[in-house]
């Protein structure tokens, strides 16, 4: 069978992205137009501004993805788009554009789950990786531990009951004056700090060994900062950053290893923007190698939001016969593994 080329579009948050992927594994192009410089002015993503910027940029981004791949729209077999979860206004731009494109070009349309895309970024990075394997997805909007049972088949093991890991990073970064986005800044500052300086809590969730909770940790950091300020004690921000990060990473590693032990797999995958965090990667490397488990993780550019991962996920949906019609809508709270 000839190769399947998919043009994929992603606009669920503040990245306008398009890519062309062949057979779910080979990246022919990967264009990302980030709005981070704009949202930094507001200390976080402003949904209305993100939606407006997507609308302005999407044609150029899609056109560049095709031209970088040396293709025209006529050469692609399907158009794929993220339809959830994410910011509804932002998702609607990509979904509406993709539907217009697919309709006018007479191409099949495939809606893709954003988190499934993050998982599939691993297929682009690691040609030999195949299901089943457990995977931890950590990003600005999501913290989910899932088992990838087969292509397009997922079982959710656990997720955050409150803040995502990425949100906790952003909030703590703001509290110690690092600004937005918090993840990379805390990652960098932690190098200079002592991760055992402050004993922040590692939360457990009653009734579920795999679920996460980060709001208590965030509050503990804020309380610590307050009590230092009240007592006039010097705040060593590098120690706060390192100790906070260690508390997040410890919980993520612990729950992930429980999942590995329960399933008995010898492979584990990381995905999502926070998976670009160097300390998190190092901790997973150590925990996996101690158990003889092979760790898979996408390169940083495939960890953060991109459309290539959507093109990979869409390929397996395409093979499974998934096609969406022109009534496809944005689904801001779409669940992992849910099919419409």
């Amino acid at each position: 069978m000839a190769e399947v080329k998919i043009l994929a579009i992603e606009s669920s948050c503040d990245e306008t992205a398009a890519a062309v992927v062949e057979d779910g594994r080979r990246l022919l192009s990967n264009v990302i137009s980030s709005q981070i410089d704009i949202h930094t002015l507001y200390g976080g993503v402003v949904p209305e501004i993100a939606s407006r910027k997507h609308t302005e940029r999407i044609n150029r981004v899609v056109r560049k993805a095709l031209s970088d791949a040396g293709l025209t729209l006529a050469d692609v077999d399907a158009v794929a788009v993220t339809y959830g979860p994410g910011l509804v206004g932002a998702l609607l731009v990509g979904v509406s554009f993709a539907k217009g494109l697919a309709f006018a070009a007479g191409k099949p349309l495939i809606g893709v789950h954003h988190i499934e895309g993050h998982i599939c970024a691993n297929f682009l990075q690691h040609p030999g990786l195949e299901p089943p394997f457990p995977c931890l997805i950590v990003s600005g909007g999501h913290t989910t531990l899932a088992r990838v049972k087969d292509y397009g088949t997922y079982e959710i093991l656990g997720r955050s009951r409150d803040d995502s890991a990425g949100e906790a990073f952003d909030k703590v970064a703001r509290a110690i004056g690092l600004g937005y986005p918090g993840g990379p800044k805390i990652d960098a500052l932690s190098d200079e700090g002592d991760s055992s300086a402050i004993d922040f809590p590692r939360a457990k969730v009653d009734g579920s060994i795999y679920d996460f909770s980060f709001s208590g940790l965030k509050s503990a950091v804020l309380n610590y900062l307050n009590s230092c300020r009240m007592s006039g004690e010097e705040i060593r921000t590098a120690d706060v950053a390192a100790s906070f990060q260690k508390a997040v990473v410890d919980v993520l590693v612990e729950h992930s290893m429980l999942a590995l032990e329960a399933g008995g797999e010898k492979r584990f995958a990381l995905a999502g923007g926070v998976a670009a965090n160097r300390h998190l990667r190092a901790a997973f490397e150590e925990a996996c190698s101690a158990r003889g488990v092979e760790l898979f993780c996408p390169s940083p550019v495939l960890c953060t939001d991109n459309a290539a991962m959507i093109g990979s996920a869409a390929y397996y949906e395409f093979k499974n016969g998934v096609r969406h019609d022109l009534s496809l809508n944005a689904m801001p709270a779409l669940k992992l593994g849910e099919r419409l």
Binding site: S51, V95, S96, K99
Partner: protein, 237 residues
């Protein structure tokens, strides 16, 4: 000129196909704001009914604002996607101007009112000339209804109101105009893709722009931008 026309700027979702001065078909619904789910299925069905292949279109005409931010973007993004696939441009049609074409035989001034929430309307003041071309007397903007009514006092002719703002502010309009109040009847009061076609035909090929250069004219910045500006002003003062 052949056009595919879209209007999803308000409660109405509408699509039409225009070919050399004729409206080959229009599909228009005023039922729930689920435009993302309805707009393109309606267009697809309409194209089938009138044997129109999207590739025949010279441009995509789209209501370019003002209106619901999300509604405008659903139409804009769909138009941009179609234009990209077909290698054609977009013909932006200001929503308030298109609305006037619902009442293009009115001899006085026309004042479309779109409910802009926050105690404001999106509105402009227009008139059709003797020759039938649309003249802009006051360009569209977001403002309190009272300010627009004051501006209308400069025009002695009778005024026709259009748009969902004439429903939202009916009480205030009745109070002001009494039995001199003219509001278009429901079949001509709201957005229509046929009216977008008529305005687009008038604007002509010269108004077509590149798909990548098109963005809606919201006539209002985001809340975050407005608040940030206020804060910066406060800090300077």
């Amino acid at each position: 000129m052949k056009l595919i026309a879209l209007d999803s700027s308000g409660n109405v979702a509408a699509v039409a196909i225009f070919a050399d001065g004729r409206i080959l078909g229009e599909y228009r619904i005023d039922h729930k704001t689920t435009h993302s789910q309805t707009l393109l299925p309606m267009l697809s069905e309409l194209c089938g009914r009138v044997d129109f292949a999207p590739a025949e279109a010279d441009a995509i005409a789209v209501a370019s604002g003002p209106g619901s931010f999300t509604g405008l973007r659903i139409g804009a993004a769909a138009a941009k996607g179609m234009a990209e696939a077909l290698g054609i441009g977009i013909l932006p049609v200001p929503t308030l101007e298109a609305l006037c074409y619902c009442a293009d035989e009115w001899k006085g001034v026309i004042c479309p009112l779109l409910d802009a929430r926050r105690s404001q309307v999106y509105s402009g003041i227009y008139r059709f000339s003797e020759e039938g071309s649309l003249q802009t007397l006051v360009p569209g903007e977001a403002l309190p209804l009272g300010e627009q009514l004051e501006r209308l006092e400069a025009y002695p002719e009778e005024c026709l109101f259009l748009g969902d703002g004439s429903d939202a502010y009916r009480g205030a309009l009745e109070e002001r105009f009494g039995n001199k109040l003219h509001i278009a009847r429901p079949h001509r009061r709201y957005q229509s893709a046929a009216a977008v076609c008529m305005r687009a035909g008038e604007l002509g090929r010269g108004a077509i722009i590149k798909a990548e250069d098109f963005a809606p004219e919201y006539l209002r910045r985001s809340q975050a931008e407005r608040e940030r500006e206020e804060r910066l002003k406060g800090e300077q003062a």
